[in-house]
């Protein structure tokens, strides 16, 4: 019955992926074993490779193969600007927007008491260290505009209080192309609070 054990182990392993339940795991396992053994080997090798080589950039904490990620190593990026984001995916989004030329710091999450995640579980200590090394003029806090993201932003503002650095927060309000009629009250209220002179 060793074979059955191997299939069960594969199903169990696949279930660790987000959004994969028992049924999906079974389908995936049988697909790989019955129809696509080559693909299965490729996946296994790719996972192995990634797990062995990908670590955290020692400056910005994002996922990187080198000790220093491409952005941190780049001489073209402005060292005096630091954008703090929650995840590598957020970093990628800001990059795609193409408006930012400074460097990043990735927290790898947000403060969420109800999930039991506190500042110690994030890279906040490393951020504090990076900031106290000096040379940074402005910190742009680009955590999500959720209560958890705002709580994280608050915390970052507090730890920068004693440092000589400007701290800014992403603006919130009506999205590009937004029509007021269809806007939720929360967004509209915040857009009013954060209005600017033109």
């Amino acid at each position: 019955m060793a074979d059955v054990y191997a299939i069960e182990a594969l199903k169990k392993a696949l279930r660790r992926l987000p959004g994969v339940g028992p049924k999906t795991a079974r389908r995936m396992a049988f697909h790989l074993l019955e129809r696509d053994r080559e693909g299965a080997r490729e996946i296994a090798a790719a996972i192995n490779q990634a797990v062995q080589t990908v670590t955290h950039c020692r400056r910005c904490n994002t996922l990187s193969e080198a000790q220093l990620c491409d952005i941190c190593a780049s001489a073209k990026r402005d060292d005096a600007l630091l954008c703090v984001v929650e995840t590598p995916a957020d970093l990628e989004s800001v990059e795609q927007a193409g408006v930012y030329s400074g460097k990043y710091f990735v927290l790898m999450g947000h403060i969420s008491p109800l999930d039991g995640i506190g500042p110690d579980d994030l890279g906040i200590d490393r951020l504090r260290q990076l900031l106290s090394n000096g040379g940074i003029r402005e910190v742009i806090v680009a955590t999500n505009l959720t209560v958890e993201g705002e709580a994280t932003a608050d915390y970052i503002r507090q730890i920068t209080d004693t440092l000589d650095v400007k701290v800014t927060r992403l603006a919130r309000g009506v999205p590009v192309g937004g029509e007021l009629e269809y806007m939720d009250h929360g967004t509209l209220a915040q857009a009013f609070n954060d209005r600017r002179s033109i």
Partner: protein
């Protein structure tokens, strides 16, 4: 089962599958329950901005079983944002409800207290006393009401001028009676808390100590992360040197 426009608050949300959200809510007539907000994390979702903690909402859902589906959500009153310390207090209150309330038990009186606390937190006014009253009512709803009116040994009314030792799950005993190892509080403080009258600073501090002991008993070994964060934030504000 179909529920239409039920007043409620979001306590917490969690991503679910590709684009949905698991929403933990506290409602007036249905207590605490989980709802599935399908597609709420998609860019075009019109309710994502509403499903935030501390907003008074009207929620509609349908379905039986453990995970009914959220069909509509709208604001019940103007958008109210909690900031800074007030937000942390909001997390604290939500954490208490998540840990201590059973699902599907209605607690409409507690709901009113919750609403009051959140309103006060949003207005950034003195919220401490509302927190104490909320904690007191939470304990009562859980079946661990404090006996703040009568001396637990003599059954006489609490004397505002005497000092009492409050023993959890027993009650207040005059300190002069001796032999009881509870939280020391003034009689007047117990009466103020019972009547939910305005308290002076001294009574507030005493109540805070008393309620902390009482709440901790309910929590058992569970740690409140919002409380920890509160402490950590004050240290961070002081320069982080004490860490």
């Amino acid at each position: 089962m179909r529920v239409h426009q039920q007043p409620g608050y979001v306590l917490h949300t969690r991503p679910y599958r590709e684009s949905s959200l698991l929403v933990e809510v506290f409602t007036k007539d249905h207590g605490r329950l989980s709802l599935l907000a399908k597609g709420a994390r998609q860019l075009k979702s019109r309710i994502r901005g509403l499903l935030c903690p501390f907003q008074s909402l009207l929620l509609s859902w349908s379905g039986r079983g453990e995970l009914p589906i959220l069909t509509a959500a709208e604001f019940d009153q103007a958008y109210a944002e909690l900031t800074g310390e007030h937000r942390l207090c909001g997390f604290y209150v939500n954490e208490l409800l998540m840990y201590l309330l059973h699902r599907h038990d209605p607690h409409s009186r507690l709901y009113d207290c919750y609403r009051q606390v959140v309103d006060r937190l949003a207005q950034s006014c003195d919220y401490e006393w509302s927190l104490r009253i909320f904690e007191k009512n939470l304990l009562r709803e859980l079946g661990y009401a404090l006996n703040l009116e009568y001396d637990a040994t003599t059954n006489q009314a609490i004397d505002p001028k005497s000092s009492y030792s409050y023993v959890p799950e027993f009650g207040a005993v005059k300190v002069t009676a001796g032999g009881y190892n509870g939280v020391i509080v003034n009689g007047s403080t117990l009466i103020t808390l019972h009547r939910e009258e305005l308290a002076d600073e001294y009574a507030k501090a005493e109540c805070k100590r008393l309620m902390r002991v009482m709440i901790n008993r309910q929590l058992g070994r569970r740690v409140l992360h919002s409380r920890k964060l509160f402490g950590g934030l004050r240290v961070a504000a002081a320069g982080g040197a004490e860490r």
